[in-house]
C-alpha cells in the first residue's frame, strides 16, 4: 500500500485517477481503517485529502454553509452557525460513533461509505444538501441523495472525490430534526431512522417538507407522500398520523438480528412523527 498526501484537489484527482487497483480516499478514516483492519479491503493507494486547502473548513456561502469534506463531527458540533441553521444535520452527524470517532469522522465519509444506516445521510438528503465533487473533468455539484448507489456503492466515478458539502440557506421559520432507533443509548448503528426538514409560514403552517428515512432500504428513502401529508398542516394529529403511515409504507427494509421487517417498518413511522414534531417546534411552530 502507498500513502499519499496531495496538497491540492487536482493532485488528489490525478492520484485517484491514475492508480490502478484499489484506491481509497482517507478523510477521517473511521470506516476505512476498520475495513483495512478486518481485511475487507487492501488498498493499493490511500489518498489523504486532509491537506487540501479549505477541506478542513466550514465557510458561509450564499446564506448557507459549505462544509469541507474533512470537517469532523466534533468540529461541526463546535460551529454555532451550522448547528443553528441545520440542527437536524448536526445531530444526525454527531450521533455517529463515540466522542473519539467524532474527532475524526466526516459527513462526506459517511455519505461515501454508503451504508444504508449512515446517520449523517438522511438529514443531508432532507436538507437538499449538495456535494461538490472534484474529478478529472473539474468540479461538479451533485445532490447528496444521488451519491449512494446501494450498500457500499456510490455513483462517484474513477478519480472523483467529494471536497465539500453545501448546506443551503434557509428562510426564517425553518428547521430540521433527525431521530434513530438503536437498542442501546450510544455507540450503535441505526435500526431505523428518519430526518424531517420543514419550512413554516408566519402562521405556523408547513409550506415545505422533506422526509427521509434511513436503514429501511438500500439507500435513503425520500418519502414524498409523507412530506405531502405535512404540507398545509400545522403538524396536527391527522397530519402526523398520515406522515407515519406514509413513512411506514415507504419502507423496504431487511430482516436481520438488529430488527425485523415489521419492527423497522413500524418504528420508521413513529420516528417520522416524532422527528416532524421536533422540527416543527424548532422552526418556531406552535400548535
Amino acid at each position: 500500500m502507498r500513502y499519499a498526501r496531495p496538497a491540492t484537489a487536482a493532485e488528489a484527482v490525478t492520484l485517484l485517477g491514475q492508480q490502478a487497483g484499489i484506491v481509497r480516499v482517507l478523510g477521517g478514516g473511521t470506516d476505512l481503517l476498520v475495513q483495512m483492519r478486518s481485511g475487507m479491503i487492501e488498498p493499493d493507494l490511500v489518498v489523504d485529502i486532509k491537506h487540501i486547502p479549505g477541506i478542513n473548513e466550514i465557510r458561509a456561502e450564499a446564506g448557507g454553509f459549505r462544509v469541507g469534506a474533512a470537517v469532523s463531527g466534533a468540529a461541526l458540533g463546535d460551529h454555532a452557525g451550522v448547528c443553528a441553521l441545520w440542527p437536524g444535520v448536526a445531530e444526525g452527524f454527531q450521533l455517529i460513533g463515540s466522542t473519539q470517532v467524532q474527532g475524526r469522522a466526516t459527513m462526506a465519509g459517511n455519505l461515501c461509505n454508503a451504508s444504508p444506516a449512515g446517520d449523517a445521510v438522511p438529514a443531508l438528503v432532507a436538507a437538499e444538501a449538495v456535494a461538490r465533487i472534484e474529478g478529472p473533468e473539474g468540479a461538479r455539484d451533485c445532490p447528496v441523495a444521488a451519491i449512494p448507489a446501494g450498500p457500499g456503492r456510490t455513483t462517484l466515478k474513477k478519480g472523483e472525490f467529494i471536497s465539500s458539502i453545501l448546506l443551503p440557506a434557509r428562510p426564517e421559520r425553518a428547521s430540521d430534526a433527525y431521530l434513530r432507533f438503536i437498542p442501546r443509548t450510544e455507540m450503535d448503528i441505526a435500526v431505523a431512522s428518519c430526518a424531517v426538514s420543514l419550512v413554516l409560514d408566519s402562521a405556523g403552517t408547513i409550506t415545505v417538507a422533506r422526509v427521509a428515512l434511513g436503514a429501511v432500504a438500500p439507500t435513503v428513502v425520500l418519502v414524498e407522500a409523507g412530506a405531502s401529508a405535512l404540507v398545509g398542516s400545522k403538524a396536527g394529529v391527522p397530519a402526523l398520523a398520515a406522515l407515519a403511515a406514509a413513512a411506514s409504507a415507504a419502507c423496504a427494509p431487511i430482516d436481520d438480528k438488529r430488527g425485523t421487517i415489521e419492527f423497522r417498518t413500524e418504528v420508521a413511522g413513529v420516528l417520522a412523527r416524532r422527528a416532524a414534531e421536533t422540527a416543527y417546534a424548532r422552526a418556531g411552530g406552535r400548535k
Binding site: 500513502y3 483492519r37 478486518s38 474527532g103 455507540m187
Partner: protein
C-alpha cells in the same frame, strides 16, 4: 511496502519515526516509540482504550495512520502527569478506586481530560455520553464518573484559587 518518515510532536517533545504506510498511530506509539500506555482493545474504534489527543481532538489512535501524524501534535497518557505529580484525574482515579484491571484506564483518563478541558463542570449525563466510547469491563462505570467529577471539582477549586 516502503516505510515513511514522519516528524511529529508527542507530549510536547519532537519525535521522529519510520512507519509502514498502513501502520496505525497506535502501533507506532506502542511498537516504535515505546509508548505502551495506549492499549489496543479492539482495533476498530469501539473500545476507546487507545484514546489519544491529535491536534486537540480526542481520537482513537487505532483509527489514525501513523503517516497522518506528520506535523501533528499528539498527547498521550504518558504526558498526563507533570513529572512525579499526578494529574488530578489520575489521583482521583486512585482515590475513588475508579480502576480495576486498569487496561481501559489510560484511554478513559485521556478522554476525561479532553472533556474537562472543554467543560470544567460537566453534568453526569454529559460525562457519560462523552465517555460512551470508552468501554470498561470491571468497574461498572459509576466509580469512573465519581472520580472524574471529583477531579473536575478539584480542578475548578484550584482554578478559583488561582
Amino acid at each position: 511496502m516502503k516505510s515513511l518518515q514522519v516528524s511529529t510532536t508527542i507530549n510536547g517533545d519532537a519525535a521522529e519515526f519510520l512507519c509502514a504506510p498502513d501502520e496505525t498511530l497506535l502501533d507506532v506509539l506502542r511498537n516504535r516509540l515505546g509508548l505502551t500506555g495506549a492499549k489496543e482493545g479492539c482495533g476498530t474504534g469501539d473500545c476507546g482504550a487507545c484514546s489519544v489527543m491529535l491536534n486537540g481532538r480526542l481520537v482513537c489512535s487505532c483509527l489514525v495512520l501513523g503517516a497522518e501524524a506528520e506535523g501533528a501534535e499528539i498527547a498521550t497518557i504518558e504526558g498526563l502527569a507533570e513529572g512525579d505529580v499526578l494529574h488530578p484525574l489520575q489521583q482521583a482515579f486512585i482515590d475513588h478506586a475508579a480502576l480495576q484491571c486498569g487496561v481501559c484506564t489510560p484511554g478513559i483518563l485521556v478522554a476525561a481530560k479532553a472533556l474537562l478541558d472543554r467543560d470544567p463542570d460537566p453534568s453526569d449525563e454529559a460525562l457519560r455520553y462523552w465517555l460512551a466510547g470508552n468501554l470498561c469491563r470491571c468497574t461498572g462505570y459509576d466509580k469512573i464518573i465519581a472520580a472524574v467529577q471529583a477531579a473536575a471539582a478539584e480542578m475548578r477549586g484550584a482554578r478559583d484559587v488561582a
